[in-house]
């Protein structure tokens, strides 16, 4: 009887093994833990322990010098309360937001613009311009900072070029200039990544858009942009992380000044820890940066994972 054979198959003990080895479900191998343990150990030693210690320090009264440099202790939420009422911290957050968002927008626009122009350029132009842009990206932050400092202060390159040698662009528009300097230093990366993505757009799709009489803007908005979205998202997230952690460029150019005009979070954290000797409070500000960076990092992983699926 057919039902009997089905019944037999259902209760057949050997059939139970199929559940354990089902190919449509993710399998976990306990033995993989041994293979992953060195990576776990590195993660714990090089990341979790230092970050955890930094988080703890943010809740103490540790100073660089003074009585609490040696005899420091846990102070509970004292530093958090201070953070909540710290107007300089709020100002620093706003400056950081401008710097990061401005850098992202600038890098995307300039990076896309260069990538699409170089796509149509003759080979030698592509090599020359592309090479120069990549050099700017590879340049150490200190060198980039010194270059922009020399170019944007009085008697600098830009002031001399426009014939107003006493114009001090850096002093007059410090946050804008350091943001532009950051865009300049990160555009090379965006140009390379977006350029590769543009070359991977199938020409048939673009031809189909032309056949449908799509305008250039429609072609960009409805065809190119959707196909570039995953790449752009990755660029946005990476530029955000790099800009959030940017210390050297701004420190070399303005040291967070004039006044506190460019005192973004990394510089404010440094100022608190090493100029005002408040190591604990500086650590707490650094922890805030880690949280913000973690949010960006999680977003990046989710986007990257989604793409691979």
């Amino acid at each position: 009887m057919a039902s009997s054979s089905v019944h037999d198959a259902i209760i057949d003990p050997s059939a139970v093994d199929l559940w354990k080895t089902r190919k449509d479900r993710a399998r976990f191998q306990w033995s993989s833990l041994a293979m992953l343990s060195p990576a776990f150990a590195l993660l714990i030693i090089l990341f979790l322990i230092p970050v955890g210690y930094a988080v703890y320090l943010g809740f103490t009264n540790l100073t660089l010098v003074g009585p609490t440099a040696v005899h420091w202790f846990y102070t509970g939420t004292q530093n958090l309360q201070r953070l909540g009422s710290d107007t300089e911290f709020r100002s620093s957050l706003e400056l950081t937001a401008f710097f990061v968002i401005g850098s992202i927008v600038g890098v995307l626009i300039v990076g896309y613009g260069l990538a699409s122009l170089l796509l149509r350029a003759t080979p030698w132009v592509r090599v020359l311009v592309g090479g120069v842009v990549v050099i700017a990206w590879m340049m150490p932050a200190i060198t980039a900072g010194m270059t922009w400092y020399a170019s944007t202060t009085a008697q600098g390159t830009f002031a001399t070029l426009i014939g107003l040698s006493n114009s001090d662009f850096l002093g007059s528009y410090p946050l804008l200039i350091v943001t532009i300097a950051n865009i300049w230093s990160q555009t090379g990366f965006a140009m390379l990544v977006i350029g590769a993505a543009l070359r991977n757009i199938p020409s048939e799709i673009l031809e189909a858009a032309d056949v449908e009489n799509a305008s250039k803007f429609q072609r960009f908005r409805l065809v190119v942009l959707p196909m570039l979205r995953p790449t752009m998202t990755a660029v946005v997230l990476l530029v955000a992380l790099l800009s959030l952690a940017n210390f050297s460029l701004i420190y070399v150019m303005t040291q967070g000044g004039p006044g506190n005009a460019t005192n973004i979070l990394p510089l404010y954290s440094y100022q608190q820890a090493f100029e005002f000797n408040n190591l604990a409070y500086g650590a707490l500000i650094g922890n805030v940066m880690v949280i913000i960076a973690a949010v960006f990092g999680v977003l990046y992983v989710r986007v990257a994972t989604k793409r691979s699926k």
Partner: protein, 456 residues
Amino acid sequence: MKNTGLSKLITAGAAMALIGVATAGILPANASTKTTLTVAYPSVYAFDTGPLAAKWWSQVKADFTKIYPNVKVQYIALPGSYQDVVNKLSLLYRSSSTAPDVAEMPSAQIGLWSSSGYLLPMNKYLKTSSWFKDFPKVIQSEGKFNGNIYAVNDGENDSELMYNKTMFKKAGIPVPWKPTTWQDIISAAQKIKKALPNVTPLWLNAGTGSGANGLLQGINNFIVGSSTPTIETKSGKMVVDSPGIKAALGFYQKVYADGLGASESALFSPNAVTDPLTLFKTGKLAMAVGSNYYGGNWTKFINAPYWPQAVATMGVTGLPNEAGTGIASTLAGWDLAIGSHAPDAQMAYNFINVAQAPKNLIDAANWAGWVPPVESDWTLPAYTNFAPPYNADFAKVLPSATETPTSANYSAWVQGMGEATGLFVQNPKTTVSQALSTFENYVTQQLGNSAVTKLK
């Protein structure tokens, strides 16, 4: 257990070790064994040039090694700016294995490091010192906290007005110039501006770019010369409002409102404090609130930059106090201290004793642009003839100078005052009350209400 070859070897090794330990206390120590003395010093910032710093410290090491050949001196160079030196030394002190036995440190930090327990009181060693008693009281007390002396000075900086005599004559200002009031300075600057429109009349450090040194060679000279010179009270509170601070800010407001100061980019540069050296030489600056290292830098020996016409061109005069009754100046220097973890404190003091030898102190004063701490050295030809007339003139100011505050809260005060003075530069229409409000709010917000005070 079988008596194997390995166990015989282990037994023999243990026996030899026991014999070695037992005889170590009986047999004389090896005569060539050297102890090590670690000495940390600023390799770039304190002296006029890095090579001169290296030269002086090599000289001291050679002198010390002649007297104590069994002690090896190991130098720890601290490169970078003032803040870099302070941070690096602070980090070295955090561990007994890295803390130097002797360190050269800025006087403003002595209180902080001594309160951390990093420094050893030197009172008992100084009782037999041949040079400490010759320090003026103000310099002796520089390293004194809670009755103990933690550091001894090896050179001081103070401030005076430096001016271009040729430019002053062209502007119709009599030379030698002897201002007696702050208004005299403003008037002179206004005449310079009218007669020489392409020259910056007055270099007055402002903004946050130059940090504590900008204030030391800037507004603090006016505050300490005012009717209320206190910056930090005896109870450790930072003054955020006083008639003296208002008066000093008022002077700054007048200078920048009348366009008598340098440009924003020049003042906000991290090198602002030393820019006048070159600006004077290139004829772009008429006068500055300057420091005693100016004169030496213009000599051929220092060459930073060399300006043969400096003596003929540049005059120097005391900065008048607010009341017009005398002169005023800030005072800050560099000191030598013994680490509290030094294994041989006596030897560490012996090193300091050698560094404080008369020739070494004079050389340090000349090569670093300092006033030597020993009063009788102020008139020695070896000092006065190195950079005449500047060395002698700046030494005369020292007894009238006021020491810089030393508490941890001073850094926040510096930042706040830098922001306040920077406002006048960025917007010459800024009022004194606006600048004062910015300063007071910043410092109070950073330090808390309990750490600040106002004076009437």
